[in-house]
Amino acid sequence: MSAWVSVAGAGVIWLALLGPVIALFTHLSGSAIASALTAPGALDPLVTSVESGLVTLGVLFVFCTPLAWMLARGRLPFPRVWETGVLCSLLLPPLVIGLLLVFLVGPYTPIGQVLAWLHQSATNTFLALVIAEVYESAPYYVLGAQAAFASVEPRLEQQAGLLGDRPRRVFRRVTLPLAAPGLAMALSIAWARAMGAFGAVIIIAYHPAGIPLQIYTTLQETGLASALPYALVLLVVALPLPLAAYIWSARAGRRRRG
């Protein structure tokens, strides 16, 4: 009896969380989807979002994974200061991040001038979109990856060292495989944040438009019925990666349990 009550309770919460998705499906019509997605250039925002999302994930994995490992292993002096820094960027509203990025990488800043010298710009370019997505998703990845590394028992790394592995090899053979399910989850959360990034994006990367910005501009220009199909596209395109990460993590856990 209590098991059924638990399932029913969980079901209610699950449906409540799914409320917006259910509303999306109930307000979509086949003809609206067809007309919105068959318009010339309609799928360009989709390509832009996927490309920028993948580049963002690459940047996060390469640059933020070592930071997360050092935070998890206490390799940094004054670790609370470092963690507070990560939390600060998490707590800032994305719109504010975008406004502040203008001061940081805008065309009249030192970084902006260096970029201009390299014939690049961090305003209204693909680079600007990636920068905005990185800033919006990085804290989620760093905190998730830190937790993933912290879950790896340091004594296993020590044992691998005593068995003859240098630290880099220990990382590759022990730390990374054991943290991988957690890292995959952190990456999938970062992916979701990057795909849905809007606040910072609208300030510094109005062009080229990704899907969230396309939803916003379509809503402004032609109304909700034309905008909703892009939300469906966002869902369909963004969902497989986190879903795959969930399935892979569960399989890795099952394999370890034998």
């Binding site: 060292g161 005593l162 068995l163 240098r166 495989p177 370890r256 034998g258």
Partner: protein, 333 residues
């Protein structure tokens, strides 16, 4: 030969210890929890930074804080460390765990024969999560043996295992250490484990080795009252200007003056203990504990026992209240 002379600072005290363990020799390092046993092993393995040390293994200098300064990193030491937690890699099968070490033999025949000796030959494709505690320890031991370490350091590896498994693992390690002729050090706070394993027994307390010798010598002739207390002497009875140490398991009922110290006291309490009985006997102002084969008389009755060939120590002014008999008229020798 493992030759270690180490000083490591800890929060409460400094561990100062020197050990020499020959090829194929088994040394047990026995002491209470927090005595510095694990710190000493970790210094040998290169996992903690010593204040002063010289550690040699075979002809290699692993650590030297004196010029020429040397600190071989853990991955080049070829020191095998087996802890209470076997530390198997959970994402690798038993076979992959066994052959993990870079120096591990790639010979399938050697892996199979060692697995058979360890009794894990049917588990090679299993994941560590499916193993029992004893099986996991056997795999961890096999991993060290296949890694061809130059010394084996065993840090309370049998804690939590049942008695028969401890005995079989101890026998197995002993025979393999002899066969491979590597020095081995077992750290334990269980005297029976230390005795079963070792050729020599070292007693360590607060970072200092108090006595080192054959297990019999250390147990029957502890060098000091502190060593006696650590290895299980529970009563200290004055006599002839000295203090006799009374071990509960070296007491027999009745007066046998030619075999030791005869003590007459009053039974305070008793209860069954294993196949016999354990009784508390009040002798003067001291209480001694005796393990007896036969049931002692009821509490309050007078009872005579003989402490077999007890060790004697100088009286310790700071000793706890278990000693300090002031009624020597009840003590006969």
């Amino acid at each position: 030969m493992l030759d270690a002379d180490v000083e490591v600072d800890r929060r409460e005290f400094t561990v100062r210890a020197a050990l020499q363990v020959g090829p194929g020799e088994r040394l047990a390092l026995f002491g209470p929890s927090g005595a510095g046993k694990t710190t000493l092993l970790e210094a040998i393995a290169g996992l903690v930074q010593p204040r002063r040390a010289r550690i040699e293994l075979g002809r290699r200098v692993l650590t030297s804080t004196a010029p020429p300064v040397c600190d071989v990193p853990p991955w080049q030491r070829r020191v095998g460390l087996l802890r209470q937690n076997p530390g198997l890699f959970p994402h690798l099968s038993v076979r992959d765990n066994l052959s993990y070490a870079r120096s591990a033999s790639r010979s399938e025949a050697e892996l199979s024969s060692l697995a058979a000796v360890l009794g894990i030959d049917g588990l090679l494709s299993a994941m560590p999560a499916r193993l029992s505690g004893g099986q996991a320890h056997r795999v961890a031991l096999g991993r060290l043996l296949l890694a061809r370490c130059d010394t084996l350091l065993l840090d309370e590896p049998y804690t939590g295992l049942d008695a028969s498994l401890r005995r079989s693992l101890t026998d197995l390690v002993s025979s393999l250490v002899t066969e491979r002729s590597v020095p081995a050090v077992l750290v334990t706070h269980e005297l029976a484990d230390a005795q079963a394993f070792s050729d020599r027994l070292a007693v360590i307390d607060r970072g200092e080795i108090l006595q080192i010798g054959s297990p019999d010598e250390v147990v029957l002739r502890p060098a000091s009252r502190r060593v006696a207390e650590l290895i299980g002497y529970l009563g200290f009875v004055p006599g002839g200007g000295q203090v006799a140490g009374i071990h509960p398991e070296r007491v027999v009922a009745g007066a046998l003056p030619d075999q030791g110290l005869v003590l007459t006291g009053v039974v305070e309490a008793f209860h069954p203990a294993g196949a016999g009985w354990e009784a508390d006997l009040r002798v003067g102002e001291a209480t001694i504990t005796c393990r007896l084969l036969d049931k002692p008389p009821a509490p309050g009755a007078e009872f005579t026992v003989t402490a077999l060939d007890p060790p004697y120590f100088e009286p310790d002014r700071n000793a706890p209240a278990v000693g300090g008999v002031t009624g020597p008229e009840r003590v006969h020798q």
